[in-house]
């Protein structure tokens, strides 16, 4: 009798219980490990059913923002009736005690994943063998084609890769056209010609009309010179998205303290000069206006993470965490020039390019919009601008309107006190090269579309 493929293989080829324990143990001790494992593994990757259960319990706690400690896993397991015997407890305790540190978590995760792939390969060999044995008169061409497809999926593609068949592509195209057709009708009939957004509001009507909003997977770059409104633009966007629309978003700031960010909100939400709020020179009436503003912030979707030593890797793990736990739709990085380098040998522009590439991948993987703020040179240019432009979906520049433009440009005279331009340098889904005049009140830290003269 033929010996099965599985019987011929040593256990250590098929699974690695030690690595599974290391991954689980790290997850029970470190948030970073939870984020990494949540993103890279599924319960099906674990060979031991008990390990798969512990993984699911831990991930379920993490997703509900409960720190997955030993006690919390015990409680969760008990409430779901999954930990029933002293042996279950001993096994869990053994895993908890297995912890060394999570520095090598990626290595252990890779080992768990690789073993899972080996098992899939063995399963493939087994089913291929069964096909050969069961059908005496078979279409060899078809058999080989089917086997090749399965094998390709195991080797070339990652779990979440997807290849569109001609049918998929045709269906997708039809759905997209139908959606646009129905939306156009809705615009005509319900919205009286006002175009509804495809994504999140930008906070400016004119920019909304051109971009149709910040969409999931979009990378937006906003450049401005020092002291010319990068943070004000970021918080204006945050107000429109998180305060006015109640959508959850994450704001990463590399240079301001928590107190500074909180104080900025006071001005933005009350339209009272920032300097006066900073020194406390406000009336009682203004104080109540500011408090009223903060009560709007309290019930908003604004999550802030001041982080002076932000690295590209850290942005990935923070974004994954907030996507899982808070379902964020937008992340703003203010600003990337202050992020720490991957490699100290990199030039500044090389580092920026790497960061931008990482953020584009992050936006697509998590299906969120990511906005990166960058600093322009004193002459208004941006180092590595061409490469950045290639990566992003929308590139905006915020710059003061030159005095001569205000005097000579007839078009600008149609607006009430415009002082800044938002320049659309690139727009993957629509018009670019457009300059939108806005009003930026530096003292109140507020921005709005410049109004047209009556």
């Amino acid at each position: 009798m033929a010996v099965s493929i599985r019987q011929q293989l040593a256990d250590e080829i098929m699974f690695d219980l030690e690595s599974e324990k290391r991954v689980l143990s790290s997850m029970l001790h470190s948030e970073e490990a939870c984020i990494e494992a949540h993103n890279s593994l599924t319960a099906a990757d674990f060979y031991s059913p008990k390990h798969a259960t512990i993984f699911e319990l831990t991930i379920s706690l993490f997703a509900r923002e409960i720190r997955p400690t030993y006690v919390e896993v015990l409680k969760e397991g008990h409430s779901l009736g999954l930990l029933k015997s002293t042996r279950d407890i001993e096994e869990l305790k053994h895993i908890v005690e297995h912890y060394i540190d999570d520095e090598n978590i990626k290595y252990w995760i890779k080992r768990v994943r690789d073993k899972a792939r080996v098992r899939k390969f063995v399963e493939f060999l087994k089913t291929s063998m069964e096909h050969l044995q069961s059908e005496s008169d078979q279409d060899v061409e078809q058999l080989l084609m089917a086997a090749e497809e399965k094998l390709t999926n195991l080797t070339a593609l990652e779990i979440d890769d997807h290849i569109d068949t001609p049918e998929d592509m045709a269906n997708l195209g039809y759905d997209e056209v139908e959606r646009r057709f129905l939306r156009f009708r809705e615009i005509q009939e319900v919205h009286k010609g006002v175009i509804p957004l495809d994504g999140l509001t930008t906070g400016f009507d004119s920019l909304n009309r051109i971009t149709l909003g910040y969409k999931p997977g979009d990378l937006i770059i906003l450049g401005a010179q020092t002291g010319h409104g990068k943070t004000a633009f970021a918080l204006h966007t945050a107000k429109a998205v998180a305060v006015d629309q109640g959508v959850n978003m994450l704001y990463l700031n590399t240079e301001m303290s928590r107190q500074q960010i909180a104080l900025r909100w006071g001005s933005i939400l009350s339209s009272i000069e920032h300097d006066r709020i900073r020194i406390g020179d406000i009336s009682e009436n203004e104080l109540s206006m500011i408090l009223n503003g903060y009560s709007r912030l309290r019930s908003s979707g604004f999550y802030s993470y001041p982080c002076p030593n932000l690295t590209p890797e850290k942005t990935i793990s923070i974004a994954r965490k907030f996507k899982t736990q808070k379902k964020i739709s937008l992340m703003i990085i203010d600003y990337i020039g202050r992020m720490e380098k991957y490699d100290p040998r990199f030039q500044e522009w090389q580092m920026l390019e790497q960061i931008i590439k990482t953020q584009k991948m992050l936006a697509q993987n998590l299906q969120i919009a990511v906005m990166c703020l960058v600093q322009l040179n004193p002459d208004g240019t941006l180092q590595g601008a061409k490469r950045m432009k290639n990566e992003c979906d929308l590139m905006l520049k915020l710059s003061p309107i030159p005095r001569e433009d205000l005097v000579e440009d007839e078009n600008l005279k149609k607006y009430v006190n415009p002082n800044y331009y938002i320049v659309i340098e690139k727009n993957r889904d629509g018009r670019s090269g457009v300059r939108i005049p806005i009003q930026f009140d530096l003292q109140k830290q507020t921005m709005k579309d410049a109004e047209r003269m009556a």
Partner: protein, 101 residues
Amino acid sequence: MPTNSEWKLLYDDTASVIMDLFINGRINSGELDFLLNLLETVMIKREHSELVELLKKWQPGANHSEIDDIIKATLLAIDFKDQLNIEHNVNILRDLIDLDE
């Protein structure tokens, strides 16, 4: 003061003992939840020291007075996720334990 590793060992062992007590039928589900929550509160979150001090002070009598039963019922009713509930029950427990002395 115990070292970090001794502290962790104590936490792991205590959690396992509590769970074993439940599996072997020595404590019920409510008692299990309370003891695990208390362990988490004391050793991980390091909160509610007042509750811990009260528990140290409480010396349940050998013949289980009615007050002891009420104290136990009050302890089991604590909702560890609700700060107000904890404060409210700690106040009740303080009075009950004073009465019991």
